[in-house]
Symmetry: C2
């Protein structure tokens, strides 16, 4: 309508949002499309799954974030396909034409060809995953209190986390806190502290992207709080009652998947080349080969850093790519030259290990223990969107820290769903 170039951004995660913001002064009409109404702060999703935070504490309406940006429109629709020839995006409600397209659709869990495992071993990507896992963990203790059969109880009180990266380590530590502290005195027939928490990693050490010293520290800390860590262990099957390993079997009431991700269906939409994890191969300016008007950012893009290593699927990387593409499009519509390739700057890695401990690798800085945990807390509060969420999360952490209590111990379920099928 305005004659401005139309920029369509699919996905309002870290990459998509930063791209939209970087376009705020450009002569363009920005349309952000997401199937959710909210941006989810994924780094804290494990705290929703372990009842420390409420979903609303780490999610914020996308249209509220972009409310001050007058050149941006937000549409809650689900993208079904892209037509690069006719330059339009297809959603369940119709077609949305673009001059520039930015794909920022993130990634989803990969079960390495065993998609049926997702029923038994949910991963942690969306708000709903968080409440689903929260439900599964809390209901395991409830059911164990009711059961009289010892084998059933033992199975219910066994929690398996598959994958020893940051998410797996954080989940294992938090479940240990829930069992050993939060719930310790609340039951009469079972002792929640007897719960088994088993963290399984296929590789030789936890936190493979961290320095080896911090991996060791994570292993020691988890072991101290009662988590059984099994490295170099492969899961060969997940079912309703537990997991099969290469060298045995674990009966478990709850299995959580933190092992692998695969890019969203962008490769198929664009009919493009991708890598093994489904990420779209892009040029050095993040554009699609043959389509200088289409860009792919964040977990959906296969990008390497200056040393040829793949750029990791973490929030800062997605944000850097989003900002880069926003600036590139701004320059192009303004008729300015642009020939800087995208350069990833790795800021660091951080992960908490339960209450009061974390490992941090930040440039030359290596932190662990309490000081690492303080650094981790401040960094996450800082990056949360919205002053209100910062206050509420800080308050909840303070409360949890002082009282050992968690504020969101809620088992909820849609009225018609009939449960997750894993209740008993």
């Amino acid at each position: 309508m305005t004659g401005n170039a139309r920029v369509v951004i699919v996905g309002a995660g870290f990459g998509g949002l930063e791209c939209a913001k970087a376009l705020r002064r450009a002569q363009v009409d920005v349309t952000v499309i997401d199937r959710e109404n909210h941006h989810c702060f994924q780094p804290l999703l494990y705290q929703v799954a372990t009842a420390a935070l409420s979903p609303a504490d780490i999610a914020w309406p996308i249209r509220h974030i972009l409310r001050p940006q007058r050149n941006a429109t937000v549409l809650m629709e689900e993208v079904r396909d892209v037509d690069p020839e006719r330059k339009c995006v297809q959603t369940q409600f119709g077609e949305i034409p673009y001059d520039y397209l930015v794909i920022a659709t993130g990634s989803t869990h990969s079960y390495f060809g065993h998609d049926d495992w997702s029923r038994f071993a949910p991963g942690l990507k969306r708000i709903e995953d968080g409440t689903r896992i929260r439900r599964s963990i809390l209901i395991a203790f409830e059911r164990a209190e009711v059961m009289t059969d010892e084998d059933q109880r033992r199975r219910l009180l066994t929690f398996v986390i598959v994958g020893g990266g940051a998410t797996g380590v954080e989940m294992a530590g938090a479940i240990a806190d829930v069992a050993r502290q939060t719930l310790a005195a609340d039951f009469r027939r079972i002792d929640p502290r007897s719960a088994r928490i088993i963290l399984i990693e296929a590789g030789p050490r936890l936190l493979p992207t961290f320095p080896a010293g911090l991996s060791d520290y994570a292993l020691k800390t988890l072991t101290r709080v009662g988590v059984e860590v099994r490295t170099e262990t492969l899961v060969t099957k997940c079912d309703a009652d537990g997991v099969d390993l290469k060298d045995g079997r674990i009966d478990a009431g709850t299995v959580i998947w933190a092992a692998g991700v695969t890019a969203s269906p962008a490769m198929r939409w664009l009919n493009a080349e991708g890598d093994r994890a489904g990420r779209v191969k892009v040029n050095s300016d993040l554009s699609l080969p043959g389509h200088p008007e289409i860009f792919v950012v964040g977990d959906t893009a296969a990008v390497t850093d200056k040393n040829g290593h793949p750029v990791p699927g973490i929030a800062p990387a997605a944000k850097q790519m989003g900002t880069y593409v926003g600036k590139l499009i701004s320059a192009r519509v303004a008729g300015r030259e642009w020939n800087k390739p995208f350069k990833y700057m790795h800021l660091g890695d951080l992960a908490t290990i339960g209450r009061r401990a974390a490992v941090v690798k930040f440039g030359p800085l290596e932190l662990k223990g309490f000081i690492g945990w303080v650094f981790w807390s401040v960094a996450h509060i800082y990056f949360l969107i919205g002053l209100r969420n910062r206050f509420v999360v800080a308050f909840n952490w303070f409360w949890d820290y002082v009282t050992f209590q968690r504020g969101a111990r809620l088992i909820t379920d849609p009225p018609n769903s009939g449960g997750t099928g894993r209740d008993a």
Copy 2:
């Protein structure tokens, strides 16, 4: 095991919880059974439905509330039936024997014989009802922003609330706040302030249990914030696209039911006599005729006050009944005399009307407007369970008051549910 009398309480709402607490010093083993893991503070459920509070802010794990009470065990099970002859309760996991039984199962919505309307016009009783209605309200605006058809838009932006009691008045006022303030600047293609909010009441005035002056005030205040109030109007049908009235039709995207309640299935379990609303007829000591060891409290019991008026289905009434029965059982197991009948003391009625206004009738005291709203806020904070919840709710209200923002604008849905069927 202990030889103590076994008291089984079914339902951990206001009545059941108070009954359990009143038994804390008695020589009994208390078992509280609830199908949920949490006690829900229903008076604030409408604030979850209108995105002002998160579910966890008004819900607290039952077993955590009763954690210090060593003679109480909490079981999360669903009661299927009661066998008064064999003195046991049947759940999905087995039988639980009792010496004393307290039924405190509350009430559910009544559609006056049209149970199929519940699909189209959800009511507000459980946490899941709150998030379901929140989803429905927020998604209506999202869909209207996407639609190009004007009739569709108008329908989506029409909200009908059936029932002009406290819940209906509070919902109507809160939806008006959401449309006129919270969302006002967040959309580009629609003006949320153009939303129609229609409150339908079958009787001659809103808030029929309040003094007529306060009803008038509620009507004026709602009208001022743009709510259309229709009294003496009967709904003859609810469907996916709106409601039929005796004298016309309203196409609406969201219909909320706040018109009637019916007691839970206790009448059937006990094979007992009940009133029209399904409430069990009880003796003056709240025991079941012919069964001095079975008691019914709260919304499930048909009780009259000293003037012969039915005791209203509100939290203070349920609490009074719960405490009464707890004391009665304590006396009986201790071998003490007990022949005081239950006496209901009406403390008052209160209802908010959107932001900064409320009506309060408290003994001889009648308050309205801002001062009523302050009274209402303080009273509700006071009655919330847990210091943490009081802090968090107070903070959220303060934040909302200052910024006009609501902290829980979250559309969530279970991954497999496929939505409510009312999305488009």
